[in-house]
C-alpha cells in the first residue's frame, strides 16, 4: 500500500512540480498513473522511491515512511525507472547478483528466479554479456528481472512496457496481474491508454502537479458522463495542454 499525504515538490522555489498531492493506493490493485508530459508523474514517482526529497507532506509504503525510515520503505518496493541505462559495463548476471546482494536475496531463490525469469524474457543466453551491448528492450527486461528477483510487495514502474517486444510485454502484463491477484500493489505510469484500459483497476490522472481524478474506470465514465474511450476522456480532461 502506498499513502501519499499532502505532498508538494518545488523546483527553484517558484516552479511547483507537484502540489498538495493526496493519493492512497490500496493492496491488490493495479493503478495506472496518467498525465501529459511535464505533469508531475516522474517527480511523484521519484519522491515515492526516495530519489527526490519531499518538500512538504509525507509518503509511506507498506507503513514505512520513505523520509523517516528509508531503508525499510525501500525494501518493500521494486522500481523500474524510465531509462534502464544503468551499470552498463556490468554483465547481465553480475547486475542481477549485485541486486540480489543489495536486497539480501537467498542464494537458492536467486538462482531459480534468475533462470526462470530470464528464460521467460529470452535474455538467459546473453547474461554473460555486458548490459552495454543490450538493446533498449533487453535492458528493460534485465531491470524488471532485478525487481522480480527480490519479490517486493509493491511494484513501482515508470513506463515499464516501452521498448518491449509483444511477447515480453504480454509476459510483464501477466506478471502485473498475478502480483495484484496475490493482494499486492502495482503502480505504474504510462502514456499508452490502451494498456490502462486493459490492465488497470484504477487510474490516477495528474496535470500541472495536481490530481485531476482518481478512481475506477467506471467511476470516471460516470463522473464525466461519457461512454467514450479513455483516450477521449483523457484528452478532454487535459485539453488545455
Amino acid at each position: 500500500m502506498i499513502e501519499i499525504n499532502h505532498v508538494t515538490k518545488k523546483y527553484n522555489q517558484n516552479k511547483t512540480a507537484v502540489s498538495q498531492l493526496d493519493l492512497s493506493i490500496p493492496d491488490g490493485k493495479i493503478i495506472g498513473f496518467l498525465g501529459p508530459n511535464g505533469a508531475g508523474k516522474s517527480t511523484t514517482i521519484k519522491m515515492i522511491t526516495g530519489i527526490l526529497p519531499i518538500d512538504e507532506g509525507s509518503i509511506t509504503i507498506n507503513g514505512h515512511n520513505i523520509s523517516e525510515n528509508p531503508i525499510e520503505a525501500k525494501r518493500s518496493f521494486g522500481y523500474v525507472p524510465d531509462h534502464p541505462d544503468q551499470f552498463l559495463r556490468l554483465k547481465g548476471i553480475e547486475y542481477l547478483q549485485f541486486i540480489g546482494d543489495m536486497y539480501d536475496v537467498p542464494k537458492d531463490i536467486r538462482q531459480e528466479t534468475i533462470e526462470r525469469i530470464t528464460k521467460t524474457f529470452g535474455i538467459y543466453d546473453v547474461l554473460n554479456d555486458t548490459i552495454q551491448t543490450y538493446s533498449h528492450g533487453m535492458r528493460q527486461k534485465i531491470v524488471i528481472t532485478g525487481v522480480l528477483l527480490h519479490d517486493p510487495d509493491v511494484w513501482i514502474l515508470d513506463e515499464p512496457l516501452t521498448g518491449l517486444d509483444p511477447k515480453s510485454s504480454y509476459a510483464v502484463k501477466e506478471m502485473m496481474r498475478e502480483h495484484a491477484a496475490k493482494g499486492k500493489t502495482v503502480f505504474f505510469s504510462t502514456h499508452v491508454l490502451e494498456v490502462v484500459e486493459q490492465l488497470c483497476d484504477e487510474v490516477a490522472i495528474i496535470q500541472d502537479g495536481t490530481l485531476q481524478f482518481y478512481g475506477t474506470m467506471n467511476a470516471m465514465r460516470e463522473k464525466y458522463q461519457s461512454d467514450e474511450t479513455l483516450e477521449h476522456i483523457f484528452l478532454e480532461l487535459t485539453e488545455h495542454e
Binding site: T49, D85, Q97, Q111
Partner: protein
C-alpha cells in the same frame, strides 16, 4: 559550407557549453585558468634559461635556428601522440556519434565538426610549447616585427599537420582493423600508449634536469648533430619549412618562399584530411557502437555467491573502474605513474648505490617522514576517490532507491578507491624494499602508516566529491576534465599533512618510536575526523547529491 559551419557551431556548443555548469564549476574553471597562467609564467622562466644557453652556444656557429627546429620537431611529435586518444574518443566513441550519422551530411562535414574538441587541446599544447619559444627566440635574436607576424601565423597553422597525421592514422586503423568488437580495449590501448610516451619524454628531460646543463649538453649535441636534425625534419616538411620561414639568417625571399610553402603544405594536408574523412570515416565509425558479444554461456551456479551489500558494492565499483577505459586510465594507469617514474629516475640516475649507502647514515626519523611524505604525494594525485560519486553520472539515482544505507555506499566507494590505490602502494613497497633497499623495519613501519594515510586520503576524496559532484556528463572523460576536486584534495592534503610532517621533522628528537607514534596519532586523528565528515554526509546530505 553553411551546413558545415552550423554543424561545427552546434558541436562546439555541445562540447564547451557553460549553460549547464553551476556557478561553482564556473569558478573552478576560472581558478584552473589562473593556475594555468601561473604555470605558464614558471614555464616561460624555465624555457628562458634553456634558450638563453642554447642561443649563446649555437649563435656563433650560425646554428641558432636549430632552436626553432628542435622545438617545432618536439612539439610535432608530442602533438602527434598525445592527440590520439582524444581523436579516437571524439571521432569514434563519443556518445553523440549516432545523433549525427543519420543527418543528411557528408562524412567530411561531421569529421570537421568532430575535430573541434581535440583541436582545442592541440592548440593549448602548441600555445604552451611553442608560444614562449617563438617569443624568447625573437627576443634573443632581436627579430623584426615581420618575424613576430610570421611566428603568430605559424602558431595558428602549425598544429594542423600533426593533428591531421594522427587523425588519418586513426581513420586508417579504424577502417581496416575490426576494432568495434574490442572498443573498450582500443581506448585503453590508445590511452596507455600516450601515457607511456609522456613518461618517455619525462625520462629524457629527467636525464638532464638542470636547466643550465640542458642547454649546455643539448647545445653541444645539436652543434654535432646538425645534419641529423635536418634529416629528421625531412619526414615532417612542415617543421623544416616553418623553421626556415622564421630563420632570420636567410635572405628575405628564401624565408618568404619557405613560409608560402609552409602554408601550401598545411592547406594540402587539410584537403587530404577532408578527402580521407569522406572516404574512410563512415567505414570505421558505423558499427562501432555495436559492441562485442561473449560466446561463453552463463553459469549462474558458479557466479551465485551471497555477499554483504558493502562487499558487493565494492566489487561492483572496482569492476566498473577496470572496465571503463577512461576510469581505468585515470584511476589505475595513472596510479602507477608516480611510483614507476620514481623507479625509472633512480635507475637512470645510476644513484641507487649512492642512495642505499646514504640511507644507512640517515636517521630513521627522517627516512620515515620522507617515505610517508612521498607516499602522501603519490596517493594525493590519484583521482579514484575524488571521482567516486561523479563517475556514476546519471545513474547516481540508483543509489537513492536501493535499500542500502548511504553510509555503506560512501564507505564502499572509499574502500574500492583504497584497494585500487593499493596497487601503487605495492609498487612503492617494491621500490623501497628492493630498489632502494630500505631496512625491513622501516618498510614495516612505513606500510602501517601508508595504509592509514591511504584510507584517510580516500575518505577525504569521497567527502570532497560528495560536496561537489559532477553527475551531468555525456563522455566519461569529462569526469576528470576541468574539475577542481582532485587538485583541491591534493592541495588540502599537502597543506594539512605536509605541515604536520614538517613539524614532526623539526621537533628536536630523533627517536624512531616517537616519530612513529606521532605520525600514527596524526593519521588516526585525520581518519577519525574524515570518517565523521563522511558520516555527516551520509546522514544529512546524501539525498542532496543530485
Amino acid at each position: 559550407m553553411n551546413k558545415t559551419i552550423q554543424l561545427s557551431k552546434i558541436m562546439m556548443k555541445m562540447h564547451f557549453s557553460w549553460s549547464s555548469k553551476s556557478t561553482g564549476q564556473k569558478m573552478n574553471t576560472a581558478i584552473i585558468g589562473v593556475l594555468t597562467l601561473l604555470m605558464l609564467v614558471i614555464w616561460f622562466w624555465f624555457l628562458d634559461s634553456i634558450i638563453a644557453g642554447l642561443y649563446t652556444i649555437l649563435s656563433p656557429a650560425g646554428l641558432s635556428n636549430m632552436i626553432l627546429g628542435l622545438a617545432l620537431l618536439l612539439v610535432s611529435i608530442l602533438l602527434l601522440f598525445t592527440s590520439l586518444p582524444s581523436i579516437l574518443t571524439s571521432f569514434y566513441f563519443s556518445d553523440d556519434i549516432e545523433t549525427y550519422i543519420p543527418l543528411p551530411l557528408h562524412p567530411y562535414q561531421i569529421i570537421l565538426g568532430k575535430s573541434i574538441g581535440p583541436l582545442v587541446s592541440v592548440y593549448g599544447f602548441t600555445l604552451f610549447g611553442l608560444g614562449p619559444v617563438f617569443l624568447l627566440y625573437g627576443m634573443y635574436s632581436g627579430a623584426s616585427i615581420g618575424y613576430y607576424l610570421i611566428a603568430l601565423i605559424t602558431l595558428l597553422l602549425f598544429p594542423i599537420v600533426p593533428f591531421i597525421l594522427a587523425s588519418i592514422l586513426m581513420m586508417i586503423v579504424m577502417r581496416y582493423a575490426n576494432i568495434s568488437k574490442n572498443k573498450d580495449r582500443t581506448k585503453v590501448f590508445a590511452g596507455v600508449f600516450s601515457l607511456v610516451f609522456i613518461i618517455g619524454i619525462n625520462v629524457v628531460i629527467r636525464l638532464n634536469q638542470d636547466a643550465g646543463n640542458v642547454s649546455q649538453d643539448v647545445g653541444k649535441w645539436l652543434a654535432e648533430q646538425e645534419h641529423v636534425l635536418w634529416n629528421t625534419t625531412k619526414f615532417l616538411p612542415n617543421v623544416f619549412l616553418a623553421t626556415e620561414s622564421l630563420n632570420g639568417q636567410l635572405p628575405l625571399w628564401q624565408s618568404l618562399l619557405a613560409f608560402i610553402a609552409f602554408i601550401l603544405i598545411t592547406l594540402m594536408s587539410a584537403t587530404i584530411f577532408l578527402l580521407a574523412g569522406q572516404k574512410l570515416y563512415y567505414h570505421g565509425v558505423r558499427g562501432v557502437s555495436g559492441g562485442g558479444k561473449s560466446r561463453k554461456s552463463v553459469d549462474i551456479h558458479s557466479s551465485n555467491k551471497n555477499l554483504t551489500p558493502f562487499w558487493s558494492y565494492t566489487r561492483k565499483e572496482v569492476k566498473l573502474v577496470f572496465r571503463t577505459p577512461s576510469f581505468f586510465i585515470n584511476c589505475v594507469v595513472q596510479n602507477l605513474f608516480a611510483p614507476i617514474f620514481l623507479a625509472i629516475m633512480l635507475f637512470l640516475d645510476n644513484g641507487i648505490g649512492e642512495l642505499t649507502d646514504q640511507i644507512g647514515t640517515v636517521d630513521g626519523k627522517y627516512l620515515l617522514i620522507g617515505m610517508i611524505g612521498f607516499t602522501l604525494f603519490v596517493l594525493g594525485t590519484n583521482p579514484t576517490a575524488t571521482t567516486a560519486i561523479s563517475r556514476e553520472g546519471r545513474s547516481w539515482f540508483t543509489n537513492l532507491y536501493m535499500p542500502v544505507h548511504p553510509k555503506t555506499i560512501l564507505f564502499s566507494k572509499a574502500f574500492s578507491a583504497f584497494l585500487i590505490q593499493g596497487i601503487s602502494l605495492v609498487i612503492l613497497f617494491a621500490v623501497f624494499a628492493f630498489v632502494i633497499n630500505i631496512p625491513l623495519i622501516y618498510i614495516i613501519l612505513w606500510l602501517c602508516l601508508a595504509l592509514g594515510t591511504s584510507w584517510f586520503s580516500n575518505l577525504f576524496g569521497v567527502y570532497l566529491d560528495a560536496k561537489q559532484p559532477k553527475l551531468n556528463w555525456s563522455d566519461e572523460q569529462q569526469v576528470f576534465k576541468a574539475r577542481f576536486v582532485p587538485l583541491q584534495s591534493m592541495l588540502i592534503q599537502a597543506c594539512g599533512f605536509g605541515i604536520f610532517l614538517v613539524i614532526v621533522w623539526k621537533l628536536p628528537f630523533t627517536s624512531v618510536a616517537l616519530t612513529m607514534g606521532l605520525l600514527l596519532l596524526g593519521i588516526c586523528a585525520a581518519i577519525y575526523l574524515t570518517q565523521r565528515l563522511l558520516h555527516s554526509i551520509a546522514k544529512n546530505e546524501f539525498h542532496r547529491i543530485q
